[in-house]
Symmetry: C2
DNA sequence: ATTTTGAATTTTGCATGCAAAATTTTGTAT
DNA sequence: ATACAAAATTTTGCATGCAAAATTCAAAAT
């Protein structure tokens, strides 16, 4: 097999001076590989169930087996890959049942996030959420599913971030990575879409009122319903 | 996560014939190393902040660097180790602040677990929980902190298991691993200890009544308070 | 005495080699 | 043909080698 030679990496820029100021440290290869592989799995480029051949992937990515194997261990820890001892790795499947479980946990996490955010977010934070929700409503009115999906995701992430709890944020992000593999999520019925936008409004109102319990409860129900819809779509 | 590991397990029996029937496959080394290292960290044998020297640990464990490095990647994904690029690994610290965050998340997860368990546990399951609680009360009456701690942990795990949600169980277990590093948990005041036992009774009653909301709420409060106590102990 | 510079040493990151296990292929007997 | 057995091939798991980066240590300069 061809030897992946030299580190190379950055293209030579002509800015002699700026060159010196640029960050010196390169990212470890195994990190890069992990990220790349994770993207390939989430994007569906590596389909669930695919057997991962180390040599083949090494060739494709231009790295040796060592960093690739390290990456596979990490992705296995994240639940994106199954490691079969002595018989290689396969891309983890994503059943409707597991998706349902993921959403059950996510609804619990986001409830907690909403409760904490209600207590901890600043007025400025809340104003930003409201602005985001306004944009979401515009996308909804314009039937722009793509931008809607983007900002919708951003709103949920923002609320999780406003919990001020890094562990919560981390766990949430990891589970979301697994969920995001079901590309069915965008396929909401018009009815459910309308409902969803209205639920957001209710959650924001509760946050604005600093009503932690209500915000949490509404968020919980909102995410649980989303999960129901997604699970049904995957099952059908 | 969940590395499906070898079947092995049984100790060698002296029965020559049975010998041949023994599972042939050894557990992967990197698995063994991961587990061993995780134990060392949780037990406190590797103190928080300790710099991990690969060569030294390799010598101690009697393995080469390859499986050790794979194990370190996994433990980093679990949050037990920090990987500093190009300057090695260190055992992750555990601040009072982070412990607080962990308990915030755990209280949310166990609330969800209690809610689901209230709906899904069989009567036999509930009977088993009640039996466990009876033993816990005996340990409490006998001022036997060691056995109390053990069965207390078992009760919480049992309720999480009764949620019937494998993802929840997995996430909970991982966070508990991080929390368990604070050995201060056993050091409850008598007052808090009494309280805690009473709270358990309340939770079980709610489960028996199939009152999901109440079970969840009581569990949430119970774990949150435990967290408060532990955090305070670590801070002080 | 303290800082600085630069070599010597250690340590990390990655590629590669090799044996054992698993898989595939080929050949043989029913 | 089908089923089975054995050899050939592939693939995995682990150890090791080597270059680059980081750290340590020592001598020189302020």
């Amino acid at each position: 097999m061809a030897l992946p030679d030299a580190i190379d990496g950055e293209a030579m820029s002509a800015h002699g001076v700026a060159e010196a100021a640029r960050p010196i440290r390169r990212r470890p290869l195994h990190d890069e590989v992990t990220e790349r592989l994770r993207d390939m799995i989430v994007e569906g480029q590596l389909a669930p169930g695919t057997r991962v051949n180390e040599a083949a992937l090494c060739g494709q990515l231009g790295v040796s087996r060592t960093p690739l194997r390290e990456a596979l261990k990490i992705l296995a820890a994240e639940g994106l890959v199954d490691l079969l001892p002595r018989r290689g790795a396969r891309v983890a499947g994503l059943s409707a049942a597991e998706l349902g479980e993921l959403f059950e946990v996510l609804s619990g996490l986001e409830r907690t996030a909403a409760e904490l955010a209600a207590a901890r977010a600043s007025e400025a934070d809340l104003a930003r959420l409201t602005a985001l929700q306004a944009r979401i409503e515009q996308h909804h009115a314009a039937r722009n599913r793509h931008d809607y999906a983007h900002d919708n995701h951003a709103l949920h992430e923002a609320i999780v971030a406003l919990s001020g709890n890094a562990v919560l944020k981390e766990v949430h992000a990891r589970l979301m990575t697994r969920v995001r593999r079901a590309r069915y999520m965008a396929l909401l019925s018009q009815e459910r879409w309308d409902e969803s936008v209205a639920e957001h409004a209710g959650i924001l109102a509760a946050l604005a009122a600093r009503d932690a319990r209500r915000a949490g409860e509404l968020m919980h129900r909102h995410v649980a319903r989303t999960g129901e819809v997604v699970r049904a779509a995957l099952a059908g």
